[in-house]
Amino acid sequence: MINHLDLLIVGAGPAGLSAAVAARSCGLDVGVVDEQGAMGGQIFRNLHLPFGRDVLDEHDKELGLQLFDAFHASGARFFSETTVWGADKNTVFCKHKGKSEKITATKILFTTGGMERPIPFKGWTLPGVMTAGAAEIILRSGGHISADKEPVVLAGNGPLLLSLAMHLIDEGIPIAAWLDTGRFSHKLGSIMHMGSALGDIPYLKRGMHMALRILKNKIPIIQGVNQIEALGENSLEKIRYQKNSKWHEVASHTLIRHENIIPRVQIASALGVELVWDSVQRYWYPKTDEYGRTNLNDVYMTGDGAFVNGGEASINKGYIAGIAIAQDMGVLSADEGALRCAESLAAMRKTCKARNYLRYVFAPNPDAYKVPDETIVCRCECVTAKEIRDAVREGFHTPDEVKRFTRAGMGPCQGRMCGNALAEIIAQEQGVSVEKVGMLRNRQPFAPVTLGEYCSLHAPKI
């Protein structure tokens, strides 16, 4: 596929694309791979399609189209539907349409982004239950969220719920209920004020606009919800929720849950990149400097995969990393590097400071992990909270030990969906902090590879 590269970038979201633009501007030979069918990452998903563009607001659309243009003009190469499953000193292993490939590069930058925090609840495996990101992607694929614009139910606590609610209102899809699982009341009010508190005027305007539309549309927002259950035979039929120890019911075929974004750290964990715990957002993130350098030689990480600061910050973070890599390769002097980074670095620091407010507003409620015993925590292997708690009582004290005993985290998703909850439940059971319990360790391959895919690496090239 490709010979040796100066820089291989894994992930074609805002961070990866803008890192490619920066590194190309310094003359590096750059390749970008992404497991998705097209570039854009989460925020710019399907921006190349008309309905993908229609859903995005003007500001984000403008940013995305500019970035795409710059990338196309840069001469960096892009490989879609290519999943990276392994890495070793300056080498990356990936699979594309059933065949594995090996790519070598002097520097490797991981911009693999974030994912929505999975919080288990009873019935969350039923068809009809999905995340806010999934619902967004359906809309950006020109699809419908529900049949005949049937009402849907939103649940959780995080910024994507707000923008999704806007898009549902635009589509004329009623919201039967919005079950708020956050800890802070009057969040809508605080969103209206946060921009002014920080002097970020454009952001204030967008927040105000969203809050006003939600208020105007009289969506029933139910605060202080502490248990949610999805019920149905073969797919979702109704939702039960508990508030003030009373149970209520609402009928719907669609439940959309969102509990904010966390970095995807499986690759960092498998490679041995040092990880740090954020006690506000309750997630692990790779330890990097502002330029994306990790504790491993030639391995860089940035974007939301390094710490969640959002799309705009990711563009700047990526650019800075691209320049820093050129500098580390000796292509640029330190002075020249600093000069070329200056603007993005200042912008990035400003956005990160402003958006830090969101980190607190949408802090997860640790009680959300106090799930009933019968709840399936590991979706792949069908391991319940009870099995995990029993394992802790039997003397297994870390996610890795509990995994070996219960099989939680051993399925195809390799613990991406249950890892966080597993650690939270183990910590609760022992009355210690999650940080102390540690995280579910990942190993290579970080994506399932079939024997055939693996063997294709060693097959003679015809």
């Binding site: 495996t125 969220i145 049949a147 998703c413």
Partner: protein
Amino acid sequence: MSDTVKIYVDEKMMEVPAGISVAAAILGHSHSHNHSNDQSRKAFHNNSMDASPRAPYCLMGVCFECMMEIDGEANVQSCLVTVQDGMQVKRQLNTEAFHYKNTEDDLPENRRTNND
């Protein structure tokens, strides 16, 4: 008006927008007002441990609940594959629970059914 492609889901033809993923095509473009007939709410596959019905949860490559057979290859994450004209997609409906470990002895003790 954007382009469309024809894909076949369990041999039934669906005309969907070009450029989107297989999973997004099925979830967003096969609704029916008759709920029992709603293809978008049908299982994409059954879980291999308990045979429960599963459908895409994340649509972004993390949860593996969108696994389907695509053009003859099983267990493909359909949210990562772009629809192509003539693509053959099959739901992996296996309503009998089975373990992908061969024998019960491979399972940890607490998960064997004949625990005595």
